[in-house]
């Protein structure tokens, strides 16, 4: 599904990703862990198409397509979703409005009919209930004045509505209380199927007790330095990154 080969990325002449490789097959859940500043969010943002990051070398293929050729909105329509580490506040744009526009853009891309207001309303309310999100959040401006946990839940809510093929969750667990963590994990688990993959970026093994990954990768200084199964996360939790 996703193949990242020898990816080099720089910002302002500073190299951040230094030969990154990762291959994700359909249905798999990969976790990326690593110290602060190692480049995890950079990878996530590059996958979503952020222009400030310059790809100097390497390639990214997504479902057979050259991802680097696509604009951010095309990537989204092709099925990539990024849950931001720091969701952006957009005052004046209602959450529900953004989501309907986003969903309908995706449907239009697939040459499907746009959803009617009522249909969308029902869909949104059902998913919100499951995530324990207050319905008022729909009417409020995107992330504006949301608490840290509300922002993260809102990202997962958007993911559920947009039903991506590959979801990249960048520290979606940080800032969540224990109950919210379970709710978010359930939200992810309920979407797991043989055609959908996840890249879960986290600092804590705790999340991986709920979202059990197929692979765990350790990222240090812009590269994957070790990969393994879920037990690797436990090992990191005990020993830290000193060995790398």
């Amino acid at each position: 599904m996703l193949e990242v080969k020898n990816l080099h990325v720089q910002v302002d002449d500073k190299e951040i990703l230094k030969g990154m490789n990762i291959t994700v097959a359909p249905g798999e859940v990969h976790s990326i862990m690593g110290p602060n500043g190692s480049g995890k969010s950079t990878l996530a943002q590059v996958l979503a198409g952020k222009e400030t990051y310059e790809v100097t070398e390497g390639e990214i293929t997504f479902q057979g397509k050259d991802l680097l050729d696509l604009e951010p909105e095309e990537r989204a329509c092709e099925g990539i979703f990024l849950a931001f580490q720091y969701p952006v506040e957009i005052p004046g744009v209602a959450n529900t409005y953004l989501l309907r526009e986003a969903l309908n853009a995706k449907r239009e891309y697939r040459e499907e009919k746009p959803l009617k207001h009522v249909e969308f309303g029902k869909l949104a309310r059902d998913k919100m209930k499951a995530l324990g999100i207050d319905e008022n959040l729909l009417k409020r401006s995107v992330n504006a004045g949301f608490s840290g946990g509300e922002k993260k839940r809102n990202e997962i809510f958007q993911m559920q509505i947009l039903e991506p093929t590959l979801a990249v969750l960048d520290e979606t667990d940080s800032g969540l209380d224990i109950d919210a963590l379970k709710i978010v994990a359930n939200g992810v688990n309920s979407m797991r199927d043989s055609g959908r993959s996840f890249i879960v970026i986290t600092h804590y093994q705790r999340l991986l007790n709920y979202i059990v990954p197929d692979f765990v990768h350790v990222m240090v200084d812009g590269k994957i330095v070790k990969s393994g199964g879920k037990e690797l996360a436990q090992e990191l939790e005990e020993k830290g990154y000193a060995d790398f």
């Binding site: 979503a48 198409g49 952020k50 222009e51 604009e71 951010p72 909105e73 990537r75 989204a76 329509c77 979703f81 990024l82 931001f84 969701p87 952006v88 506040e89 957009i90 005052p91 004046g92 744009v93 409005y97 953004l98 989501l99 526009e101 986003a102 969903l103 853009a105 995706k106 891309y109 401006s141 995107v142 958007q158 947009l162």
Partner: protein, 448 residues
């Protein structure tokens, strides 16, 4: 026999006797006296220059060089259909139409305003309600200190007169449509409006300025408002003049005890535009909410001049102005808050936010607080910036195109001011106009 103003100070001063002799013969003596008295202000001041502190960002050289004339009595043929196209869908309102400053009764419908309420052309009110008009006309807008008010007071043709007696609600909004047409020569048009709201009464007035052509003219508007004790007024100024027009307007409000005004100014048309909003919170416990949105492109120049005058204790004022500037256009926001010595517990707030869509657009924003009392709360803030890249990326990452993302962001920005309009159909009409404007700005491509 048009009176020609060739741009010199003398032509505007001396033209008055000819103006008074042609078509003004049947107006009462006190109006003629007022006109004669008022012109001396302009005689002394002339048009402001860049060295005038209040005009330092707005160059009037082109106006000074221009030659203008007063429209003759006969008005251009404007059809009812054309007038209807400037209406607000579904809005049940009273409508007064003026063409090149002259009242067009056949296009107007001020039918049934309600018991004791007067909604008519100012020219009629001067004849029929002389004492009422005389008690207020030119009593607030100072023709001695302001060149444009002086010119308007001397040369005004017509405008709306609204009188709402005490404890009365004017149910229907009053739509005052000023239409300008191409008469083959640049006109000098002076609309004059007078709005008197009695104690504990309510009204909504929409001043709407449109042009059927893209011709050059000089339109110079003065509106005086008296808002009685406990009264509420919502006022709209929708400026959609020709792209070549010089447009100057002054809204001068006198607020009595516990009165509330909400003012909305939309600046859209015009080559050089100056909008003065000047409420005086004269009685205790008044509230003024002043909203504005200006959109400029090409070489348009839009100058927003606020003067909020707190003359009594316990009054609140809010100024909230947003500007969107494209092309090589220029904007000015000059926000003056004046707190008089006796006006303790004043709470005054001013915000001006500007979005630049091009590298060549320019905005000068200048707060000016003049406070003669220690027990007050006055705040101001201004921002100038491009569209938020992080927010655009966030929207695109959800599948929305860059063009659409920009439109969404612009809409959010303009709605910050539009959302305060209480008349939905006006708000919706403006939202649509704003959207069309954005779409033109972004072109047909992806807009990135």
């Amino acid at each position: 026999m048009a009176i020609i103003f060739d741009g010199t100070r003398e032509s505007y001063v001396e033209g008055l006797s000819e103006f008074l002799g042609s078509g003004q013969e049947d107006t009462p003596g006190w109006v003629a006296d007022l006109r004669r008295e008022a012109i001396s202000g302009f005689g002394e001041l002339g048009f402001p220059t860049l060295s005038d502190e209040e005009w330092r960002f707005t160059n009037l050289e082109a106006l000074r060089r221009g030659s203008f004339s007063i429209a003759e009595d006969g008005i251009s043929d404007v059809s009812k259909k054309t007038v209807n196209s400037y209406g607000f869908s579904g809005l049940d309102c009273l409508r007064l139409v003026f063409v090149n400053g002259r009242f067009a009764s056949s296009l107007s419908d001020a039918g049934d305003a309600g018991e004791g309420i007067v909604v008519k052309a100012l020219s009629e009110a001067i004849r029929e309600d002389g004492d009422l008009v005389k008690g207020h006309l030119a009593k607030y807008a100072d023709y001695e200190k302001d060149a444009f008010i002086s010119l308007n007071t001397s040369y005004f043709e017509d405008g709306v007169f609204v009188y709402v007696p005490d404890r009365t609600v004017l149910e229907k909004p009053v739509h005052v449509l000023h239409v300008s047409t191409d008469e083959g020569r640049p006109l000098f048009i002076n609309p004059r409006n007078l709005i008197i709201i009695g104690q504990s009464s309510d009204a909504k007035v929409i001043e709407h300025y449109v042009s059927l052509s893209q011709s050059v003219y000089f339109s110079n508007v003065v509106t005086e408002v008296v808002c009685g004790e406990d009264a509420n007024l919502e006022h709209y100024r929708l400026e959609f003049e020709s792209r070549k027009a010089f447009n100057f307007s002054t809204l001068r409000v006198n607020q009595q005890k516990n009165s509330n005004i909400t003012s909305h100014s939309i600046l859209y048309g015009g080559a050089i535009v100056r909008n003065n909003v000047h409420p005086v919170l004269a009685g205790e416990g008044c509230n003024s909410d002043i909203y504005g949105l200006f959109m400029s492109e090409g070489r348009q120049h839009m100058d927003n001049f606020m003067r909020v005058e707190h003359a009594s204790p316990h009054c609140d004022s809010r100024q909230f102005y947003n500007g969107v500037l494209d092309g090589r256009s220029k904007g000015v926001f000059h926000g003056r808050i004046l707190v008089h010595e006796g006006a303790e517990k004043t709470d005054a707030k001013q915000t001006n936010r500007n979005l630049l869509l091009s590298d060549t657009a320019q905005i000068d924003t200048k707060p000016q607080l003049e406070i003669y009392n220690d027990d007050v709360k006055c705040t101001h803030g201004a921002t100038i910036g491009q569209m938020d890249e992080e927010a655009l990326f966030y929207l695109c990452s959800r599948g929305v195109s860059m063009r659409k993302a920009k439109i969404i962001m612009l809409r959010a920005f303009t709605n910050e001011t539009l959302e305060h309009m209480s008349i939905d159909s006006v708000k919706e009409t403006l939202e649509n106009t704003v959207m069309k404007w954005f779409e033109q700005r972004l072109g047909n491509g992806d807009g990135s």
